[in-house]
């Protein structure tokens, strides 16, 4: 049997076919996705950087591939992409640390 990986770049070619099983929901998602990512008050470039950051934060290899490529296509530099990922990383660290306030509150409440 050929070795298979859970994550394979070729999987993405099947993504559009998710509409086969629940077409209404699938098509609604793809329409929404296309609208959300197209240029509006924010440029296509700004949205590609946001998407790349979310992809890294969400640990999605498909999206990291897709949006790194998209950023390259739009002329985004490595430095800009790395800074965007740092925004995601610091926000992730920040939201963990912000939750320590819950911990502190419970400690205050429970300790004598």
């Amino acid at each position: 049997m050929t070795r298979q990986e859970y994550y394979d770049p070729a999987d993405l070619q099947d993504f559009e076919n998710i509409t086969e099983d629940a077409p209404d929901q699938g098509n609604a998602f793809f329409n929404y996705y296309a609208k959300a990512l197209q240029a509006g008050a924010l440029s296509e470039r700004e949205k590609a950087l946001i998407a790349l950051t979310v992809a890294a934060v969400r640990h999605c290899p498909y999206c990291i591939d897709a949006y790194t490529t998209k950023c390259l296509s739009l002329g985004v530099s490595r430095e800009e992409m790395m800074e965007a990922v740092h925004v995601g990383a610091s926000m992730s660290a920040g939201d963990v640390l912000a939750h320590s306030t819950q911990m502190r509150k419970i400690i205050e409440q429970k300790e004598m």
């Binding site: 070619q13 296509e44 490529t69 998209k70 390259l72 296509s73 739009l74 002329g75 530099s77």
Partner: protein, 331 residues
Amino acid sequence: MQRQQQLDHLARTPNAEHFRHKLPSPLYARELSILQLNVGKLCPMRCKHCHVEAGPDRTEIMSADTFSACLEVQQRHRIPTLDITGGSPELNPNLEWFISRAAPLTERIILRSNLQLLDREEYKHLLDFFAGNGVELVASLPAYTPKRADKQRAPGSFETCMRVMRELNKRGYADPGSGLALNLVHNPVGAYLPGSQASLEREYRRHLEKEWRVRFNRLFTLTNCPVGRYLEFLIHSGNFEPYMNSLIRSFNPAAVEDLMCRDTLSVAWDGRLYDCDFNQMLDLPVEGRAPSHISDFDLQALRHRRIAVGNHCFSCTAGAGSSCQGALETD
């Protein structure tokens, strides 16, 4: 890589039907409005993406006889646009002679340049020569930052471009109303497709005008064609199959209608005729009964010739389409 090896590799693109099967009917030329002359493969640089595989050691260069044959065609038919490319056209010793004779016969003369030589003392007179003859310049500049642009070309090439663009601006290039156009060409520095032309043009303008104080008219995005050095790069970096698949997935039937080969005829350094510069590099000559050399030029036969296609043609039909004049559909 030999031409036949390139064709064989392209024909074996995995999971792909041949380009010709994507077309509703065979592709025919419809008019001849651009005569594109590749005046030689000699070039001071050896860019990693170059489909011509141009470089300092190339010896193929258009002779005075071939230029004369082109001029004779132009005298008879007054084709609206002459598009001069290479290599570096500046390195052809017959270039000035040809342009000065062709200019009165031609509505529009385009010269494609990497601008590098125009920074050297012995070629600087060409800046005034081009301006004096109203030559439209199309300068290749793969990126708006030195780091990325030099990666594809050579160290220092970006800053040389900026110096030459400043000199061209001083002579009126890119000034509104001057009639002197300076357009830029962007092509991706790697195995991906170009983004939207409008978006990239905005970024180029923002960076080049603010940081480098240079002006240009338009930015044309060009999809890299899997031919020559670019094909070798794709194969050696393991990107051939994903790149071809992304071209094929982005196939846009609407782009077929405006493909540049339908209005263009490409003349090689030795006078042989092709449907485009990519077919020229793959040595796929014009098909059928159409004349195959500039000395046998026959407008009627060439105007309605059938166009030779291959899987490399997917690069001109991907997304917004691609041509020597940039994206076929602009947003």
